[in-house]
């Protein structure tokens, strides 16, 4: 085994699978779908090698069901899909959020709706990733923009999921998924593997949804002798259902409160050249790569432009965005859909800044020149 890190040329989807292995994932269940299939393909090789389990399930719904079950059995577990399969998984994402079951769900976005454009890129699931399942629910969505970042964010997805006991979604577009870049793979055993908070202490007084200081209840590890109960019904600290209004509110607020309480741990972003920027471009994935070049080109022409890239897409890094855009007059939101992220940015700006949208829906990625032209246009109008 190498004792040092090794540089490897990896496709984005391979990097995702290898990131999961490094993070300690030992159960994968999925149903292959373009453009995510290489994740399943790589996991089918890596899981048996690592002593884990790979299951090709009958469909996407069952895949996440198996992942939730494996997680409750104590394994770090993951599934991967694309937009149509992600829609099918939504009911189980809600179950995972409500029953607080750690798991990682990867969505490699393609053109939609429905079968759409299987091999073409899209960023059309920005809102589905946040609001796809029903009811108020807590979910974390990470949006890497390069192959090395897919590797590191998949590791972070497991850490957050295990630590905070909730489903974490890794969301990226087909371009990044199929791109090949060089990734520095840490030596085996050097990645810190996050372990979930297991129940300790007296079995008699154990409550599977106990309120703790960090709002994350310890879980019963199967075989440790704790009595536990899991249900999709809104439940008390004991795990059993309740409809008592004050109990329902207490439970609901605790679960959503986890994201607020651990905001610093969850939030991640890149802000480049924003300090004095008049125009800030906000984008994720391949659109953010185009935006970076456009912003650099604009800077070279003397235009004060900056880039804000949420790496944690949801919960959106609100305060970081507000500080990064403090001097900005205009925000340009570049995305591969008819206008989704722009809605969040308009909400955050509250009418105080001009918000412009570059929304591309022809199955092609946004090119740097498109963003650069928009920056120049808005700059000269200043």
């Amino acid at each position: 085994m190498p004792s040092q890190s090794t540089a490897r040329d990896l496709q984005g989807n391979q990097a995702c699978a290898l990131g999961a292995v490094a993070a300690g994932c030992r159960f994968y269940a999925g149903y292959p779908i373009t453009p995510s299939s290489e994740i399943a393909e790589t996991m089918s090789v890596e899981m048996p090698r690592a002593g884990g389990v790979f299951v090709q399930m009958e469909d996407e719904i069952a895949s996440l069901g198996a992942v939730l079950g494996a997680s409750m059995g104590g394994a770090k577990a993951m599934t991967a899909t694309s937009g149509p399969g992600f829609s099918l998984k939504q009911e189980h994402i809600g179950y995972g959020a409500g029953a607080e079951i750690p798991c990682v769900i990867v969505n490699v976005m393609r053109g939609g709706p429905s079968t759409g454009l299987p091999t073409r890129p899209s960023q059309g699931d920005i809102m589905q990733s946040r609001w796809g399942t029903h009811g108020d629910h807590s979910v974390i969505v990470l949006a890497p923009a390069s192959v090395p970042e897919i590797f590191s964010e998949t590791i972070r997805a497991f850490a957050l999921s295990e630590r905070l006991r909730l489903p974490v979604i890794v969301l990226y577009d087909e371009v990044i998924g199929h791109l090949v870049e060089t990734v520095e793979i840490p030596a085996p055993g050097t990645v810190e593997v996050a372990d979930r908070k297991w129940a300790t202490g007296a079995a008699e007084s154990f409550q599977p949804y106990a309120v703790t200081d960090d709002l994350v209840p310890p879980m019963a590890r199967p075989g440790d002798g704790y009595r536990t109960h899991t249900t999709g019904l809104t439940h008390l600290e004991s795990g059993f259902p309740t409809q008592e209004p004050e109990c329902v509110e207490r439970i609901t607020r605790r679960i959503s409160g986890k994201l607020v309480h651990h905001r610093e741990l969850i939030e991640s972003y890149e802000a480049a050249g924003c300090e004095d920027a008049e125009i800030v471009v906000c984008a994720i994935g391949i659109s953010a790569r185009a935006a970076r070049r456009a912003v650099n080109a604009a800077r070279a022409q003397g235009i004060k432009a900056g880039l804000f890239r949420p790496i944690t897409l949801w919960p959106f890094p609100e305060s970081a965005f507000k500080s990064a855009t403090a001097s900005a007059r205009t925000i340009i939101v570049a995305e591969l859909n008819a206008g989704q992220l722009v809605l969040e940015i308009e909400r955050l700006c509250g009418g105080a800044r001009q918000v412009e949208s570059i929304a591309r829906v022809d199955g092609e990625p946004i090119e740097p020149a498109e963003i650069e032209a928009k920056i120049r246009e808005l700059s000269s109008h200043g």
Partner: protein, 181 residues
């Protein structure tokens, strides 16, 4: 060239992705950053296929091609879609037999017997490696020795001899500079 963009274009099954991977490996060994992307049609052979590399000395911001410095054409199929992407003065290497109709323009065209040379060596499928040899022979993209090393390391043993001969033939064509425009 330190920072550049290159496309291998042709028809599915011509080994374009392999050429791009070998060149990328060689460039990375020379210390460059490389982003590789690809596009092909849902057929196992035939149909437009392309493999693109964005090469930089430092960090790559946008990983897809926007203006090509080098275009390698092994078939007529990708010609129409790729010509508008050429940077003025770009290097174009085309197979005289299968990509013989290249429009006039501000580019440095080398129309060479790539597939004919591979056929003469006994296997047309080595055309992609002849093309890599031409790149090494022209000497603008990558060092000869690095490319030869990655071919030795990256090609199945039973095809190594054929590929090394194809590479050497390409180098010879490249060093001769071809008939030019």
């Amino acid at each position: 060239m330190e920072n550049f963009e290159i496309r291998f274009g042709g028809s599915g099954g011509q080994g374009l992705q392999l050429s791009a991977r070998l060149l990328a490996d060689a460039l990375i060994r020379e210390g460059r950053k490389v982003a590789r992307s690809q596009s092909y049609e849902p057929t196992s052979r035939g149909g437009l296929s392309r493999a693109d590399l964005v090469v930089a000395a430092k960090r790559i911001d946008y990983p897809l091609i926007t203006a090509l410095d080098v275009l390698v054409l092994l078939d007529q199929l990708p010609v129409a879609v790729s010509m508008p992407l050429l940077r003025p003065g770009a290097l174009v290497i085309a197979d005289a037999r299968r990509a013989g109709e290249i429009p006039e323009g501000d580019h440095d065209l080398h129309l060479l017997p790539l597939s004919e040379s591979a056929l003469a060596l006994g296997n047309e499928r080595a055309t992609n490696i002849v093309a890599l040899g031409v790149l090494a022979g022209l000497g603008e993209v990558c060092e000869h020795d690095t490319l030869e090393t990655v071919i030795r390391d990256g090609v199945p043993p039973r095809f190594l001899d054929l590929n090394l001969r194809a590479f050497a033939k390409g180098v010879e064509l490249g060093e001769a500079g071809g008939p030019g425009r």
